[in-house]
């Protein structure tokens, strides 16, 4: 469902991502794990067609993000740490706006909104203006906005940043639900616990390059360590010292 081949992107002579490749099947969650500045957000933005790669390409649900960005955008939903709601619109109006932009007719939009209201327990505030919302309420609206058009591909970019435990748990439940619905999910994070908890397999990125890829168990066995933290440190920490072939791509 998601195929990434040789993505490369630079900003002002700084390489943000270099030769990044991975794939995600339907009903799978790929944890894109890396420290701040590793290239996670750039990768997500390229897949979301917000940025264009300098080299390489990617396919989401069969659509080439470079050749057919508009068609690709129809197939993706993106949830980031920055919610970005329109404060003078109600939650319902925001969802209608995005539903219309995704080409849905009003009947479909209204039905889906009612589904979201029930799924995310938004009944109390669906018709209130977003400017009055708490963080948790805003996050729910953002989740609804992400899946309103029922995209087969969901991209998460550090969605729990700044959230308390209860709100974060709600995000985790949502990720599980996406997997159960057969969606292809990329979950980008720098938090080991999240990556270990949510991911079916991992892509570990550092300094713009994928330094490790595969299921956690496989990585542990190959590196002879236990736990994601050790895997990560072995791949990232030792690479800083030796720049040798501990990369497992």
């Amino acid at each position: 469902m998601i195929e990434v081949k040789g993505l490369t992107k630079s900003f002002k002579n700084k390489v943000a991502v270099e030769d990044v490749s991975f794939s995600v099947d339907c009903g799978e969650v790929l944890g894109l794990l890396g420290p701040n500045g590793a290239g996670k957000t750039t990768t997500i933005r390229i897949l979301a067609t917000v940025l264009k790669p300098d080299a390489g390409t990617a396919w989401v649900a069969g659509e080439d993000v470079c050749e057919n960005p508009a068609a690709a955008r129809k197939k993706i939903g993106v949830l980031t740490s920055e919610v970005g709601l329109y404060e003078r619109l109600t939650a319902r109006e925001i969802l209608k706006y995005f539903g219309q932009l995704h080409g849905m007719n009003m009947g479909m939009i209204n039905d889906r909104i009612e589904e979201m209201v029930e799924l995310l327990d938004m009944g109390d505030f669906i018709d209130l203006r977003a400017g009055t919302f708490s963080t948790g309420m805003k996050r729910k609206v953002a989740i609804a906005r992400t899946i309103l058009h029922d995209p087969p591909v969901i991209l998460f970019d550090e969605p729990t940043a700044g959230l308390d435990l209860m709100a974060a748990l709600a995000i985790y439940r949502f990720v599980h639900r996406c997997r159960e619905e057969g969606k292809a999910v990329i979950y980008s994070t720098h938090i080991m616990g999240e990556a270990a908890r949510l991911s079916d397999h991992l892509a570990i990125i550092d300094n713009g390059k994928i330094v490790g890829r595969g299921k956690l168990q496989t990585l542990e066995e190959k590196l002879g360590v236990s736990g994601l933290e050790q895997v990560f440190l072995r791949l990232v920490g030792e690479e800083v010292e030796t720049s040798s072939s501990n990369s497992l791509v």
Partner: protein, 398 residues
């Protein structure tokens, strides 16, 4: 399903209508402030002038003993109050008197002997009361001077009419529409120009820089419509708001001129017959639409380029200078006629056309030319807006 341009346009308008700040600038200020200024200022000035005219002129006289007959004459005028002060110049500075008269030592003798002499009148031109006092005093001094002249002529057996072989009858042959339009032409072009810029300003800042600041732009960019559709939708929203503002300004100013002036200002302005016809008003709105389109496209471009609300404000606010300066030039040089060369200059062309419409000089060829030129400028600015909207380093913090 609606076209993406319409979706974005309607959503931005909905948000705008819920923004108190924009409603204040778009509706309340043009509806209330402009008529208030147009009526309030003249009323205030008229009230001030009336109170000055009603009060006697305070005159201090130096050398009063040199012109006893003249002093006796002044004492008979209730409009003049003679004030005794130690230092007339200082008293004038300190506003204790309005005018000072200096009668030279030979004044009475010269008049008696049929010679010419002088009378010195001092006033402060920077103060209305002193300046108007000097004008009023001059009228009474002229009456006294003429009476002496007439007496001298009678003594010689000469009729005063001998000194005036003919008088000139002046007749203003300017068309009535032009005369009526002069007053409005001094004010309206600048007012309309400024509101065409201010009206859409907050919307322009909100739909681009504001989206960046709120982090709502990136989710928008992940939706299917092409970026240029979003640019066009946002442009239309700014243009709509600006046009509504300008229409309110034109309607409120028309009501002010057609109804407010005759009823509140009274004879002075009412006699001038300041009116704005429906046809002229609609043409002005059309030209204002062209001006709004150019300004809306520029404001959107600047807002897209800015990284924050405040930065966008800093870029867009100086745009008003590009309206004020042309309007001032048009006001200060009334002989500046419209020509194709002048109408090729953006903003300036619309200001000149609005002035000409107010003066009753409507040239459809010039209007058509301005339409084409304004379209080219607005389209070019929109292309620039599109370019910036597609630049990753402009749209995102990369």
């Amino acid at each position: 399903m609606k076209h993406p341009v319409l979706i974005v346009w309607f959503k931005e308008i909905k948000e705008t209508l819920r923004d108190r700040r924009t409603l204040l600038v778009m509706v309340l200020l043009p509806m209330v402030m402009m008529p208030g200024l147009m009526l309030g200022l003249p009323l205030l000035l008229m009230g001030q002038y009336e109170s000055i005219e009603e009060a006697p002129v305070r005159v201090a006289v130096s050398g009063s003993s040199h012109g006893e007959a003249f002093m006796e004459y002044l004492k008979t005028r209730p409009e003049i109050r003679l004030v005794e002060v130690e230092d007339p110049r200082t008293s004038l500075e300190e506003r204790e008197i309005d005018v000072l008269l200096e009668i030279p030592a030979n004044f009475q003798d010269s008049i008696s002997q049929g010679d010419a002499t002088y009378l010195s009148m001092g006033f402060d031109s920077t103060r209305d009361r002193s300046r108007m006092g000097a004008e009023r005093l001059s009228r009474f001094v002229d009456i006294y001077r003429q009476s002496i002249r007439d007496l001298r002529l009678q003594d010689k057996g000469i009729s005063p009419q001998m000194l005036e072989p003919f008088h000139v009858q002046r007749q203003d042959l300017a068309p009535e529409t032009r005369v009526q339009g002069m007053f409005m032409a001094m004010i309206l072009p600048m007012v309309i120009g400024i509101w065409a810029g201010i009206g859409g300003m907050y919307t322009a800042i909100d739909v681009a820089a504001g989206e960046k600041e709120r982090a709502s732009l990136e989710p928008l960019l992940t939706t299917p419509p092409a970026r240029k559709m979003m640019v066009y939708g946002k442009f239309l929203s700014i243009l709509t708001v600006a046009l509504v503002t300008v229409t309110i300004v034109v309607v409120s100013m028309t009501a002010t001129f057609n109804y407010g002036f005759p009823r509140l200002i009274g004879d002075a302005m009412g006699e001038m017959g300041i009116t704005l016809s429906l046809g002229a008003g609609m043409l002005i709105i059309l030209v204002a639409f062209l001006l709004s389109a150019v300004l809306a496209a520029l404001e959107l471009t600047l807002s897209i380029f800015a990284r924050s609300f405040k930065e966008a404000q800093n870029y867009i606010t100086p745009l008003t200078l590009f309206i004020v300066f042309p309007a001032m030039i048009v006001q200060m040089i009334p002989e500046l006629d419209a020509s194709y060369r002048i109408l090729a200059i953006p903003v300036f062309n619309c200001i000149v056309l609005i002035r000409d419409i107010l003066l009753g000089e409507i040239n459809m060829a010039f209007l058509g030319f301005t339409l084409i030129v304004s379209f080219i400028y607005a389209f070019s600015a929109l292309q620039l807006a599109q370019y910036f909207f597609s630049r990753e380093d402009v749209i995102l913090k990369v």
